[in-house]
Amino acid sequence: MATSFARALRLIEPGVCRQCATQPARRTFAAVQNPKREIRSRPATQTTTLSQQQVRAFSFIPKRGYKTVQEAKSRHKSGPFSWQAGLLFLLAGAGLTVYFRYEKARMARARIAEANKGIGRPLVGGPFHLTDHNGKEFTEQNLKGKYSLVYFGFTHCPDICPEELDKMAGMLDQVKEKHGEVLQPVFISCDPARDTPEVIRRYLAEFHPDLLGMTGTWQEVKDVCKAYRVYFSTPPDVKPGQDYLVDHSIYFYLMDPEGDFVEAIGRNFTVDAASKVINDHIADWRGKINKG
């Protein structure tokens, strides 16, 4: 964009000189009519490369078709700078600024996504085996084809999980509005002793109909927490009906349609900020995505 603009400017120069060579009489006429302007409009930097005559010619070629001297004069009062040129300059500048800002943000996101993929083995995520809230088997293969937003929690959570799940519901709506059905939200319980499929299904229904809950055996849950680098403190042997809390990390993990980790979204993000992060990553995706 910038180079073509410069090229256009360069093309004007020889054109101008060709014109002045064919109209020697008019040039002198203009120079005589307006001797003061000649000095004012001479660009200092060009004097070394261009001859005196060329410089003079540059500012004072009247276009053919002026009916009066006054018209020609008024046309050239502003020299080579007209409001059209100014507008073009400003528009080009504004356009470039917007474009470069957009590119910069896109590159930053691509860098985050790329860095989080790691080399070889993924840093976050990987194989797991769980049971979803309908009692069906669910592995990392089921996450592929769509983006997924993974959240770890437990249903007996006093305040933070429900707040975060409400936020998650807001994000899901905003992503759906922009990109359609491209995001699979997943809730993985860190408390398999109390959170059975039925408990999770009833719990999640209060937040968003798209949320898919997961649970498993104590070992399966411990493994998936390890894969996602989630702190897991649930004791393996709890008595039935025992009252306890579970410590766990509180991130939303965004995974791409190939199952690679993209970015972690912390609690400090608002619904709008988090939705923007997710929507931008989805917009960047060039591979296959399942919209069904």
Binding site: P158, R194, E198, P240, L245, I250, A264, N268, T270, A273
Partner: protein, 123 residues
């Protein structure tokens, strides 16, 4: 202590689910619990008690009706958690105040240090 000593307020027992789990409090139950917590904390504020675990006796004396409601509406683990969280939040605010008095400028939490702040908050 005498008033409610004999009849320990018992929180709602978790309802067992058909497949062997325990049903969690739903949205309305959580709202009732949070309400109980808020009115108990307001009472603590009035009596300038921050740590109701350490100052258990005093809290039980001056805020008895509020505490009873709180303990009836929330599971025991939640009660303890909320009491501890109150202390933690008080200390956090105190530290922030101290820091800003020393001239520290807060970081933009939505971009910087996201990783650290999220892990610290627990639960």
């Amino acid at each position: 202590m005498g008033l409610f000593g004999s009849s320990q307020p018992s929180p709602p027992q978790p309802e067992p689910s058909r497949d062997g789990g325990y049903v969690a409090p739903d949205r309305s139950a959580r709202a009732v619990c949070w309400e109980g917590r808020d009115s108990f904390f307001k009472c603590l504020d009035r009596n300038s008690i921050i740590d109701s675990v350490k100052e258990d006796e005093k809290a039980k004396t001056v805020c008895a009706p509020e505490l009873k409601k709180f303990e009836e509406a929330c599971a025991a683990s939640w009660v303890t958690y909320f009491k501890k969280r109150r202390v933690m939040e008080f200390q956090r605010d105190l530290t922030l105040k101290k820091l800003s008095a020393e001239g520290a400028t807060p970081m933009d939490s939505s971009t910087a240090g996201g990783a650290g702040s999220a892990t610290l908050s627990g639960k």
